[in-house]
Symmetry: C2
Subunit: 133 residues, 2 copies
DNA sequence: GTTGACTCTCCTGTTGCTGGAAACCCTAGG
DNA sequence: CCTAGGGTTTCCAGCAACAGGAGAGTCAAC
């Protein structure tokens, strides 16, 4: 199948599929006589796999690792788990960061009257060197 | 004062201060005869303001807006509040996204035995077209 | 045979910087 | 006065992970 069919099947934009081929992440099964990228069910499966991994926030590099493990019949699930656990840590860390950000900003927003006067705790809060206080 | 002093005072790398000058976000108060960027207390305050706003995740464009309001004596706090509230929405939305991501990935990681056998719910979960089920 | 859709490669732009190269400037020491 | 060292300038490349568009080739249908 051609790239647009593969694109539809895997749920990724054509541009992205082409990009993944360029960087050697998911290489098409073949090239037609005219140079068209040709995909088969297996390569489409790999594209879906990458799409899902990307949705989870895995980097392209991690996708490469996971893809290797995906294809490796002799893999140990521990290797996969390690990568996933690492990502889980990143997510948790980002969550904590967002939480304190949210709290602090919400605090400022609540303190702001939001009328036509210039006095504004948000502006003041941003102007201050340190965060809350 | 020269750029490195301003950099130290505002807590931003020299490169970043220079970048902000280039894009016209925080322009130095003057240039010396030799072409050196010259900063004063006011421009340093603006740099601090931007640093704080960036820490809150405001984009450069939003920083520009906020900086205008910061300098505008006739601003209405409602304008500031609107921008901050929008950003707060984005944060909350990102939090929800991360939460479901975290839950789903944690679910997979928990289900994975993490030993030397190849069977792996994580790999299986990534290979499946849709998320949970 | 000609239209129209599809595909190719290559280049640029995105966001917010960061690093490096080559050249200038400035000050302190000898 | 000269030199060595820092600091400063500009410009150019690159990061992640693509997206948009130009210009040219290809393919199937009518």
């Amino acid at each position: 199948m051609n790239i647009s069919t593969a694109s539809t099947m895997c749920g990724l934009p054509v541009k992205t599929v082409r990009y993944y081929a360029d960087i050697g992440l998911v290489v098409p099964a073949a090239r037609s006589a005219a140079g068209y990228r040709v995909y088969d069910d297996e390569t489409v499966r790999r594209l879906v796999f990458v799409r899902r991994a990307r949705e989870f926030g895995f980097s392209i590099g991690e996708c490469r690792e996971l893809l290797d493990l995906y294809a490796d019949r002799r893999r140990s699930s521990a290797d996969v788990k390690r990568i996933a656990a690492r990502r889980l840590q990143q997510i948790a860390s980002k969550q904590r960061e967002l939480q304190s950000l949210h709290d602090e900003l919400a605090h400022l927003v609540e303190a702001c009257s939001g009328d036509d006067r210039p006095d504004c705790p948000i502006i003041d809060g941003l102007g201050r060197r340190h965060s809350g206080e």
